[in-house]
């Protein structure tokens, strides 16, 4: 079939049609134009159904569920208190607490948006009271939230692993170092800004006793990543089962141990999980269908030929693909960006140019995740804006130094594969 569907795809996307429908209608129309619809239309529909037939994919609803339960269960508060006891006493204390909480939270949740709203609701008002400007408070929250899907668990990585057939556990492991690099980089940048702008400290230096007490309260929450990753890496659970166990664990802890959740809240948690997972799963089904069209139309082959005609310098190509992903990330959500571009780009860089599958995966995941916090279309930015009441463009401007840190990390992990590949290699996944 012809590649005409690409143009239809771009036009419909620009005209605001929901992406899930664009992914089905662009190839559908193209099939009709090429006169192939009687032969292929049934496959278009059946792929939508069978495209979701996957046990690994089910980790997505379970991680969403676990995150939802933890966000309502008062776990956020305990994590923030613990961070404050550790780092609250240095200059720019609450900003540092915000970043440290995001790093800790990243081990529990796989979603940047959830982190922004949970931490933002608590920390933005507190920071304002403490003398920070509202736009800076919102910017720190948004910038540090992108660590959420980079440090495992991660919804975005599950999607990538499913569509491109790489190991979820391997991808999770390769996210650790990049996630900590972003966290550390943001903290250093905050130290610099705090000195320059003379930001206040948050609290007296906590004694070891106070630290221990705060740790005790956060202990149950901080145990989640241990159970999750220990279970997956130890071969006890598949990632999907680990996600279900995490949801169950969060449920038990918030309902019976911490008593911050009531049975009455459960139906609304299941409804919200169903909506979020239903939307993303439908999109995944549509993207698998689109991926099938990409294969039969030979787009990957032609794309590879085109890319290789530009230059055969792999590093230059990697630089260019990062720019491309970053621009796409400005307009698209991380999930759709991976679902649409993954099947096109991965064969070029992995099969043709010989990159390690996990290395390309982590570069792509980190890049489109940072895109969640870039204007004009950045979900994290929108949530930070609605939580703080500050305008999106003001937050975006205030975020520039943090964005510089994140872009540097993207290029570091692109050109130094060992940063992301060492951990998976140690555990035998790469």
């Amino acid at each position: 079939m012809s590649l005409g569907y690409l143009w239809i795809f771009v036009v419909l996307l620009a005209l605001g049609m929901p992406i899930a429908f664009v992914l089905l209608i662009a190839p559908g129309l193209s099939l009709v134009i090429d006169g192939l619809d009687t032969r292929f239309f049934s496959k278009l529909l059946s792929t939508l159904f069978t495209g979701m037939y996957s046990f690994p994919l089910m980790a997505i609803p379970f991680f969403i569920l676990a995150g939802d339960i933890m966000n309502r269960g008062g776990i956020t508060r305990n994590i923030v208190r613990f961070s404050e006891s550790v780092i609250g006493h240095i200059r720019g204390g609450l900003a540092q607490v915000n970043i440290l909480s995001s790093i800790l939270f990243a081990g529990l949740s796989g979603s940047a948006v959830a982190d922004t709203s949970a931490l933002g609701k608590m920390l933005i008002p507190a920071m304002e009271e403490n003398g920070y400007s509202r736009r800076f408070s919102a910017a720190v929250t948004a910038a540090s939230s992108v660590i959420g899907p980079i440090i495992p668990p991660s919804g975005i990585m599950i999607i990538y692993a499913f569509v491109m057939n790489v190991s979820v556990a391997g991808l999770f492991l390769s996210g650790f170092v990049p996630g900590l690099m972003i966290g550390g980089g943001l903290m250093l940048m905050t130290v610099y800004l705090a000195r320059k702008r003379n930001y206040p400290v948050a609290s007296e230096k906590a004694t070891w006793g106070e630290c221990g007490q705060a740790f005790g309260k956060a202990f149950w929450a901080l145990l989640t990543p241990v159970i999750l990753l220990g279970g997956i890496l130890g071969g006890v659970f598949t990632p999907t089962e680990a996600a279900a166990v995490a949801a169950f664990y969060a449920f038990i802890v918030s309902l019976f141990v911490m008593r911050t959740l009531t049975f009455k809240e459960l139906p609304s948690i299941f409804v919200s999980t169903a909506i979020q997972s239903g939307v993303i799963l439908f999109l995944v089904g549509a993207a698998v269908t689109f991926g099938w069209i990409i294969t039969i139309s030979g787009l990957a082959r032609e794309g590879a030929a085109f890319v290789q005609s530009l230059t055969d310098n792999v590093n230059l190509l990697l630089f260019l693909v990062n720019i491309l992903l970053f621009i796409v990330g400005m307009f698209l959500d991380a999930g759709p960006a991976i679902l649409i571009l993954g099947p096109v780009l991965e064969p070029i860089f992995v099969d043709q140019l010989g990159m390690h599958p996990l290395h390309f995966a982590i570069v792509m995941c980190v890049n489109v995740t940072v895109g969640l916090a870039t204007p004009p279309m950045g979900l994290v930015l929108f949530v930070a804006s609605s939580v703080s009441g500050e305008k999106v463009e003001k937050i975006a401007y205030e975020m520039l130094p943090f964005l510089a840190v994140e872009i540097s990390v993207i290029f570091l992990i692109t050109f130094f594969p060992a940063l992301s590949l060492t951990l998976p290699r140690l555990f035998g996944f790469a």
């Binding site: 239309f41 979701m52 609803p61 279900a244 409804v271 169903a274 239903g278 439908f282 999109l283």
Partner: protein
């Protein structure tokens, strides 16, 4: 006169669509709970009772697919499917509406074309079974035409709302305060 009749029809269709959308949504929420229990039961039986349950995997996958098809109509009506509306929302409202009508018409075309295929898809499934489940797969595939049917009705409603809003100078006929479903990630 015709306008008020038309708007009454749209309101009635809207109420029906909203109602079945809500039922589908709550059913999906129930399925999330059941599939969580099914997967946990699988783990429990394997480790604690040393006896793998074969059916938990297939059945929970099918439930997940049902969640996607049950939520699709709800999200379509609430505007919960992610899209790039940056360009079109900056256009004058009437032009925005006209573009949106064209988009919904295209979606309606796809849904109707899919409905034809879905009927064949279901009937073919009467001779097929998922590996571990003794019921023909056709019953699980039934969700496809059901979901398509709901979306067709919703598509008609949304198109009519935009058309009415274009001809009626007294105000718009959009669904009142759509609580946008927060997309994940």
């Amino acid at each position: 006169m015709t306008e008020t009749l038309a708007s009454r029809i749209v309101e009635r269709l809207g109420r029906f669509n909203g109602f079945i959308g809500l039922i589908a949504r709550n059913f999906a929420a129930g399925l999330i709970a059941v599939m969580t229990v099914a997967v946990l039961a699988g783990v429990f039986f394997r480790y604690v009772l040393n006896n793998s349950l074969a059916w938990t995997e297939d059945s929970s996958i099918l439930m997940m697919i049902w969640v996607a098809f049950l939520i699709a109509p709800y999200a379509y009506r609430q505007g919960g499917h992610v899209g790039i509306e940056l360009l079109v929302t900056s256009l004058p409202k009437p032009i925005f509406r006209m573009i949106r009508i064209v988009m919904h018409l295209l979606i309606l075309w796809l849904l109707l074309r899919f409905m034809q295929e879905a009927i064949i898809y279901v009937t073919r499934g009467f001779n097929m079974r998922a590996n571990t489940i003794p019921i023909p797969i056709a019953y699980f595939r039934l969700i496809v035409p059901v979901s398509l049917g709901m979306m067709i009705l919703i598509g008609i409603e949304l198109i009519l709302r935009d058309v009415l809003s274009l001809v009626d100078r007294n105000g718009d006929h959009d669904i009142a305060n759509r609580p946008s479903a927060a997309p994940p990630e």
